[in-house]
Subunit: 114 residues, 2 copies
DNA sequence: TTATCATATAATAATATACTTATATATTCA
DNA sequence: TGAATATATAAGTATATTATTATATGATAA
């Protein structure tokens, strides 16, 4: 059942991207639901450029894709990427982070546009 | 079937360690067979201290353990570590590296002591 | 059209990482 | 015991990473 489709070089690229608490949490959250940049800024309590730069790395690797909805840019997981099943396997082994989305909702900071 | 026993912090520690081509290959090779330091030096064509430092990081995280056999120190995967199944899942998705051991054997550099 | 809001990029600084060479330690064997 | 071999550690250096502040860009709404 192992696909073993990734070279060891490709795997290290993906692992490096996931080996950061902010990015790993971002990707895990995106598995729950699409989110926009300002939501991540709120969740992680870091500067907006910091989040933007993390998202850029994930986007450059085609792990996530962006989708403008009015004022906001929503990010989602690019499930069509050939590395997706590898990422999914990693994510399946870490705890859900959805309490962060629930907390966001409770504090009225969830963006629900369009 | 997901154990989800790791916190996101623990997962990033492990992922950081695996997110390096040399270390990822070392761990994958150790899944095939125990190896000693000088074999890794031969395989990766880097300095002995470089390998020693990679192994130290893996050892400090209890991912591998060491076992002196005469002159040599053999490393093996610590399957008793609670992070082992997480690591196993990652490793299952990258290609076998055992051709490196076969090549080592062919060039007469394989250590088979004790 | 101008102000505001959301996001991206540039520049910079602090810290982490992964090598190298030099050297110390531990084991084996003549 | 002393030389040779295997490994670890120390010190130094180059590069990568991740944050910050300042600023640019792009969309919306008064």
């Amino acid at each position: 059942m192992n696909q073993q489709q990734l070279s060891i070089e490709q795997a290290t690229v993906i692992l490096k991207l996931l080996a950061d608490k902010t990015r790993l949490t971002i990707v895990k959250l995106l598995q729950e639901q699409d989110c926009c940049v300002c939501e991540f800024v709120e969740i992680f309590q870091v500067s907006q450029p910091s989040i933007s730069q993390h998202l850029r790395k994930l986007r450059d690797a085609d792990i996530v894709k962006e989708d403008r909805r009015g004022q906001w840019i929503f990010y989602s997981i690019n499930t069509e990427n050939s590395t997706f099943s590898f990422i999914e396997q990693v994510l399946s082994q870490i705890p859900s982070q959805k309490e962060k989305l629930i907390e966001l909702e409770r504090s009225g900071k969830r963006i629900t546009c369009c």
